[in-house]
Subunit: 315 residues, 6 copies
Amino acid sequence: MGDHYLHKSVTDTAKRIKLLEIQGARNVAIAAIQAIEEASKESKAKTKTTFIKELSEAKNVLFNSRETEPLMRNSIRYIIYNVESSPSQSTEELASEVSRVSGMFIQKLEMTKEKIAEIGSKRIFHHARVLTHCHSSTVTNMLRKAKLEEKTFEVVCTESRPVFQGRLTAKEMLDFGIKTTMIVDSAVRNFMNDIDLVVVGADAITSEGNIVNKIGTSMVALAAKEARTPFYVVSELLKFDPETVQGGYERIEERSQKEVWPDYPPGLIIRNPAFDVTRREFIHGIICEEGIISPHSISELMHRKYPLIFESAQF
Amino acid sequence: MGDHYLHKSVTDTAKRIKLLEIQGARNVAIAAIQAIEEASKESKAKTKTTFIKELSEAKNVLFNSRETEPLMRNSIRYIIYNVESSPSQSTEELASEVSRVSGMFIQKLEMTKEKIAEIGSKRIFHHARVLTHCHSSTVTNMLRKAKLEEKTFEVVCTESRPVFQGRLTAKEMLDFGIKTTMIVDSAVRNFMNDIDLVVVGADAITSEGNIVNKIGTSMVALAAKEARTPFYVVSELLKFDPETVQGGYERIEERSQKEVWPDYPPGLIIRNPAFDVTRREFIHGIICEEGIISPHSISELMHRKYPLIFESAQF
Amino acid sequence: MGDHYLHKSVTDTAKRIKLLEIQGARNVAIAAIQAIEEASKESKAKTKTTFIKELSEAKNVLFNSRETEPLMRNSIRYIIYNVESSPSQSTEELASEVSRVSGMFIQKLEMTKEKIAEIGSKRIFHHARVLTHCHSSTVTNMLRKAKLEEKTFEVVCTESRPVFQGRLTAKEMLDFGIKTTMIVDSAVRNFMNDIDLVVVGADAITSEGNIVNKIGTSMVALAAKEARTPFYVVSELLKFDPETVQGGYERIEERSQKEVWPDYPPGLIIRNPAFDVTRREFIHGIICEEGIISPHSISELMHRKYPLIFESAQF
Amino acid sequence: MGDHYLHKSVTDTAKRIKLLEIQGARNVAIAAIQAIEEASKESKAKTKTTFIKELSEAKNVLFNSRETEPLMRNSIRYIIYNVESSPSQSTEELASEVSRVSGMFIQKLEMTKEKIAEIGSKRIFHHARVLTHCHSSTVTNMLRKAKLEEKTFEVVCTESRPVFQGRLTAKEMLDFGIKTTMIVDSAVRNFMNDIDLVVVGADAITSEGNIVNKIGTSMVALAAKEARTPFYVVSELLKFDPETVQGGYERIEERSQKEVWPDYPPGLIIRNPAFDVTRREFIHGIICEEGIISPHSISELMHRKYPLIFESAQF
Amino acid sequence: MGDHYLHKSVTDTAKRIKLLEIQGARNVAIAAIQAIEEASKESKAKTKTTFIKELSEAKNVLFNSRETEPLMRNSIRYIIYNVESSPSQSTEELASEVSRVSGMFIQKLEMTKEKIAEIGSKRIFHHARVLTHCHSSTVTNMLRKAKLEEKTFEVVCTESRPVFQGRLTAKEMLDFGIKTTMIVDSAVRNFMNDIDLVVVGADAITSEGNIVNKIGTSMVALAAKEARTPFYVVSELLKFDPETVQGGYERIEERSQKEVWPDYPPGLIIRNPAFDVTRREFIHGIICEEGIISPHSISELMHRKYPLIFESAQF
Amino acid sequence: MGDHYLHKSVTDTAKRIKLLEIQGARNVAIAAIQAIEEASKESKAKTKTTFIKELSEAKNVLFNSRETEPLMRNSIRYIIYNVESSPSQSTEELASEVSRVSGMFIQKLEMTKEKIAEIGSKRIFHHARVLTHCHSSTVTNMLRKAKLEEKTFEVVCTESRPVFQGRLTAKEMLDFGIKTTMIVDSAVRNFMNDIDLVVVGADAITSEGNIVNKIGTSMVALAAKEARTPFYVVSELLKFDPETVQGGYERIEERSQKEVWPDYPPGLIIRNPAFDVTRREFIHGIICEEGIISPHSISELMHRKYPLIFESAQF
């Protein structure tokens, strides 16, 4: 199958995701949904079969833009699943079905974010010292909510090498008027005894209840467990990766050596995995749109709440 | 007491230590010894009392150049102790006693380093994957020795934020012809299951058997313990800090915020401790000039081997 | 809204709960249900709206009688939910609906207790040494059942400071003819190696799968885990607190200082929390009316078994 | 009730199971199903009541052939449940219902095995060193699948005293062309640091999420946890034992002393339990026909997938 | 041998110790020394042999006044050892040797206490929250020293059932002007995350490096370890029990049931051990007159510092 | 240097050690000492130099008979050290010095064994359930002593694959009249909760305080730690291996594949290490001739008690 079926919005978006011009699980998902929607609006397909073939190609291109990105993948699977299940054969009607589902999905993502902030902010008690690692908009939105509720608390950010996303978190915190401290990543254990609560985001949730997040997260979790400090993951349920149900390992992107050492000496091997895996036994709870849950029952929760995800992952 | 007793070599050396122009526990100790020696050679003191007063002032200035630096402090204490115990009253004879003891001490440091390399290199078995953190000349000398013995092994270095001393380690390893990999500090746990042995240096050893080393060492140790990977400390015994016997906490130097983030935003607090403490239960053994020992018996070993240190620490 | 809507049975019951004249999650729940029933029987409300307003005020008063008491709260929520969902508009019919649901609920509580005793008593094997903390009628009923089945076993009770509820447990055990030993709370670890099984009750179960129970329970659990002794919680599922799903912390009642030291010296602070939290990883299983379950899946179980609880908690 | 209702195929099969002429959870289940089917085909019962009485007796005899064998028990319960629920009163029709359900069940077991192999083989990455204990056809089938996919990996087998089932595993592995190493059972910890993955089978799964498997499995799990080595259980969901939901302990068969020491000296006690229990916190995941799951939610999964099992266990 | 050799001061003191009229390891030791001294002053013995026989009987009587009390026992052993080693044969000279050694010993105990306070108070940093269990004059003296040094810190005391010695500690702390909080024993884990440092006394130190202290100490230590809170023991080295070197278990006194429940119901067994054992791996350091040491090397330290103790324990 | 210097008693003994005709650390040491003694008695050497050369060759041959055998090695080193230090030049006198030292050494070994039995038997309390692994004559002698003291206790033995030395232990226990149970090695964890005390022997003790003993010992230790069961090592101090001080790994003998599976299939790799390493943190104490000690201070104890060992290991 050639790429003549592919709309420019899809190829452009995929390229921008690859180059990290679009970043963050939520932003990537929204951009991909919008690309799909635009492409289907302007589709010239005559039959439902062709229409779906186009969608399917778009899906492949977008999926290939990142090693793994469950939120984006679940979004696209969901849209396509709805089109396929639609009784209609008219491509026009199918295109407007894509628009409807896309809009609904993006709105749902927004509501989810607010719901999570509402639930999670209740965990931020007065005078709490909260540590976070890297940058997660779901986390910072939740902390912002707590601040808006006039809670007094402080945040400790790691710098998050190699790309220093912790600086983004620190700036946001300062902008929200929250007392903020930054430390290097390897100082986490040194400060852990004075931390009341750790909150981190997630890039993916596996069927075993583990989470995939920025490299270093699992070391923060280990230090938290050692000091009996609660460790919470703040995440949309749709970051659940249905491929892990089928035995697939969550793939970990390995990024450029130059991120670590721009002018590294010849002969030196640099390993730069972007993420690591934090196992469920380190996680006190996942703060999600369904409330605060034990990660151990994530698969059953997904079957109850989003059963489609399991079916649509079979494509 | 004025500083007119102070020789320029002492004040200069103290300043260079403060500015980090002289670095590494061993280099600092040697420079301080040499300053003391030079000062005493050119002393104009007429009486033993004055001579010792001068030494004592030099000691204070040099001690104040770093928060804590047991190897340097033990060296100077040892020299002064010898002068005080000397039956001689002639300042000329006392100066040459300083020279004799200084020379002996520096030679001893050299022999110790080689002895440690000889012992420690036996722990580097064929095909071992060795992880180290930060830069320690005692560690790199030991790895060099193992390489010279034609062992095939590889080394994984952390970058060691904020000052990237891991890059120095990596370069030395490559120079020795050792296969070398670099990772960011927070990736240690991610690679730990594939590591056979961790070796790190030490800045100080406490009476409880804990070690003080570059920030992040205790997180490496925690990840090693979790994965049942042996964790060894390579250190001269004279890094034992006799002040900790008397209840004193090992003081942890807190360094400039700009090391972490040169243009940090106003309002942000940056905490930048240079060292952390790794407790004895994480340490399989200390590889020292006396062989491989359990850190739990360090105080008794020091009493057997260097009893003077306990007396001279009372000054 | 004034309290002129409030029936005396409600205000009286609330007062007696506050003064601990009514104690124990089950007794509190039953008294509250009966107060509601009596109030609605004698309601003078003319419209469904008024009738529900009265119920709602009664709910508030009863809820405020204790910091948290999920079994009572779930009971009342359940009754009100049924009234609201009723198609009827007649206040007479609604009052008899309250009676019907109340009766059913109380009967269900009784059946649940027997079901739990039947299931849990199977865990009490011959010659078992069982430790329990504080007093729980669900636990003692289960042990009584095991004794009635002619099992030979013995029970170790903690005294359960500050109010010595362990003495009540000890007396009940002796009355049942069970060999019984009492120890002070802090001796639990000393005896743990000789214990085969720990069973405790619960005041609340959180959405993460943790349980809230009498202060000291989490230390018993810690000592049990250290010695690899099974630790079971015996509880009705309706002690699940739906407010924790929404992020709320389980509130821990802090009781009078005089309970700890009647004539404490001026200036002394006494902290007297009545409960503590035992996290799910310490709990081998919850013995409930659904069988023996892992606490990690409690939320999914509640969604399957009592979905109404989640909806009615939104009020 | 006498055994005159019993068909020879049932008593013969039960005897062969008892004598271990039929072994392995799957083989035992299939043999029992076939015996039931044959017996019902040749039944001379005139009424549905008598027909069911015969089935019920056959069930008792087959259940008694092993202490516990959930897969076989669940199979028989399932068949009988279907017969009982059938609207038909004709014994002929009922017999053909038995045939239909039996065939479907056996076919399902086969499909399940292949599904598990497909999922689990994805966990066997290139150059993995996989340790297994005892012999499980579900495990060896999964490893065979991975080998057929041309993955390069090696297997370490324990010998599995006292009956040396590890030798069977080793032979199968060699037949599949897999590099294989054998060690004695007590050497597991010695080799664990070089193992990437442990996979074992299961004889039963309890409602708490624990698994029952060949004696020694829980020690392998303990050594795996200590070295942070992933530990997976490979099992059909129908090994879930619904009796454990109701509080029953999984019964552990104790086998002949002569298996351990054929000519043991008089006076010596030999304890020879065939199985042990591995608790859920040691298990990274159960690889089953539903995918890879956390054992903590097994009860909810069974309620979703095989609700009949809970009802039929009440018989 | 009859008790006609026994002086009244010895029998009286032994009785008062037994009745707890004299309490605390230090007070008991001093009273016993003084009794011995008085007895030997008024001895009517004519020969060294008789004199020593008298001392030996006094020793037996005093030793039997408590199950175990190493400080007292070591004191008496030390005095007798000196008498036996004395070249003198004159009973008058021996009596004055007893006086001399006794005086020296008591003076030494006083100096030790001050030395320990000096060392230990350095561990009490500004704003520290220090938890202690039961009452130890060595601990309270150390905290008093820290307060005299104008440090700001606060103390959390357990009540220490069954005899409430924590109340004594609380009163002393308040008298010293230290902010003080009291909790029940079983609430320790609940507050541990907010504690910076635990300090407890010791009744005995074993050759393995374990300590024996008031019942509940080992549970405090367990909760401290779980939360990574430093746990220090404050003790004179002469609480080392040389009998444990020879394999003897440290005997744990079991006290009256009425201490636990004055009017306990008939048939109830009450177990009331006065002490428990805290193993060395829970202890960060022993703060003693020699400084802060690892408990693991206690035997070697005693051989270096008090070699006589090993010889004199052979009597 | 040829082997014409070698006496037949030496080569014969070395051969019998190699073929396991002489077994057990103590028996091997005694045989080697006797061979050396016989050889030196019949030496034809004319000069001290030649005499020592002969001894040295004998040493090499005996050392090579086993991978490592510290007790034997320390014995021979000790004898040679004495000869070398002897002022005498007469080979006759030197030969009688060898006899004297040998006799003394063997006598000392015997006394040590009895001393250990005396100390260790105090740890066997009434009704204790003691587990041991493999066979150690030091352990069985200690248990025999406890039995002779009329203590009632029972012993659980592992079978100790692959050579079943546990059967020897079981027979000895039965002969002593001790109640004895045997289990397979992998069942240890299954029974650990009912064990009060584990005691094992040692083949070597390292400078870090670890012990080397029969394969499986470290798994027993792990299971003991998990269940908080005390784990003691019973060993002569002269099993300390001074080569480990100098960094050498304790070499682990790998024995014949046929021990594991006599007729193993072609292509199968069998790994059969005879020993494993149990780290000091698993060991409650070493029961040795010096009493019960913490393994962490073993090096300092050896320096105090057997300083010669460190010097003589330099040869």
